[in-house]
Amino acid sequence: METVIRKRIEILVDTPLVRRVTDAIDRAEITGWSVLPVTSGSGRDGRWREERVMGTDKSLVLSIASAEKAEVLVDALAPLLTSHGLLLTMWNVEVIRGERF
């Protein structure tokens, strides 16, 4: 089956901030996104675990987009990335039904 190359963008973000990230994705006119739960983690600010009760847990926002739209998104997220310490990774993937993105 034919595949096309798209960017896969994954952003690790505090759950209360998810909305701002997905709003940025919508504004970049990317067709969609999905959110995955994250259980625990550790970084410069120390460890966290099972803190959904406190609302300080994190989520992983994942979105597939064309390289151009991905760039638009990254630029739009840039201020949030630095101010709120988000973690953004991005790589090329083969996609089936790629005409949607």
Binding site: D14, P16, L17, D45, G46, R47, W48, R49, E50, E51, R52, V53, M54, G55, T56, D57, S83, H84, G85
Partner: protein, 322 residues
């Protein structure tokens, strides 16, 4: 009633909290699924809201209620200012972190309030139902105070201010507390009786399991803490002590009964670890949760549960007798 009636360490509620602290300290893998913990916290808020609303439906509203609400609002706005000054001067925190910590101490902890209700109740001190409304109104003003202090002289992100206000005033616990309070008011004792088996009989048991979880989390966070220093630890005990005693006195002055004045003290003494941390992650991401969450959750919360509540209770008893 006698002071010796306070025997928190024989109460299962407190014992489960201690079990949690101990299990975490021993690094046991005991853990409550977060969905269950979240569910229990929603249950506790709905139950306390309902109960308060029904109590007010019975008692009606009077000047005492207004005075308590006003006192609560004022405390929530002003405690952060005081706390901020001390955090800057004594603990040498920077502006952002001082503002963030200050917001936590002005706001309140629902579970501390609920536990106080149970412990005081077990000693025959029944807290007035309207204090649930006071609890709800004290949650958010402190967030605004703390943010203003943290951002003084800085350029805020203008566009998100409105959004922040909405998030703060419509955060889950405020909506659920006030919502079930209103439901209790409307449904009244008759409507409440239908749901009483779930919300009243089960209450204390659920509180036990929730405090078990809080004990686990509080101790784990303390063990992993890196950012605290001695001065911050001192403040995390001094703040609840000072605010709590002050709250009891003011409660006594404005004419609240013994139990209700003690509960006002508990509200002032308690520090938020649910609504405020989430708001700070949004509005003050540079502030370090290793400071504010560890202080409020791992030191102040256990202090209040294990010592503060009884202390404020006894102080209120003593005060009303003099």
């Amino acid at each position: 009633m006698e002071v010796s009636a306070f025997a928190p360490f024989a109460s299962p509620v407190i014992l489960f909290f201690l079990l949690g602290l101990l299990a975490s300290a021993l690094r046991s893998d005991l853990a409550i699924p977060e969905a269950i913990a979240k569910g229990m916290s929603l249950y506790l808020m709905a139950a306390i809201g309902l109960k308060g609303g029904v109590a007010v439906a019975k008692s009606g509203v009077n000047a005492e209620v207004a005075a308590a609400l006003l006192a609560g609002l004022t405390f929530s706005f002003l405690i952060p200012v005081l706390a901020y000054a001390v955090l800057r001067g004594f603990a040498k925190l920077d502006q952002t972190n001082a503002g963030a910590v200050a917001a936590h101490y002005g706001s309140v902890s629902v579970v501390t309030f609920v536990t106080a209700n149970e412990l005081l109740g077990a000693s025959g001190l029944v807290v007035a139902g309207f204090m649930v409304a006071v609890l709800a109104v004290m949650e958010t003003p402190a967030i605004l105070s703390g943010l203003m202090l943290a951002r003084r002289g800085q350029n805020g992100e203008g566009q998100s201010r409105g959004e922040l206000l909405r998030e703060v005033f419509l955060n889950a616990s405020v909506v659920l507390l006030l919502g079930s309070f209103a439901i209790g008011l409307i449904a009244g004792p008759k409507g409440y009786s239908e749901v009483q088996p779930l919300f009243e009989s089960g209450f204390k048991g659920v509180l036990c399991l929730f405090l078990l979880d809080m004990g686990l989390i509080a101790a784990r966070r303390l063990i992993d803490a890196r950012a605290l220093n001695l001065r911050l630890v001192i403040l995390a005990i001094a703040f609840p002590l000072f605010n709590g005693l002050l709250g009891v006195m003011v409660g006594n002055l404005i004419g609240l009964d013994v139990a209700t004045a003690a509960a006002l003290g508990v509200l002032c003494a308690s520090a938020s670890y649910i609504a405020v941390p989430a708001a700070m992650r949004l509005a003050l991401p540079q502030a370090d949760p290793g400071i504010y969450l560890t202080m409020s959750l791992s030191i102040t919360f256990p202090f209040n549960i294990l010592i503060g509540i009884s202390l404020f209770g006894e102080f209120s008893v003593w005060l009303s007798a003099h």
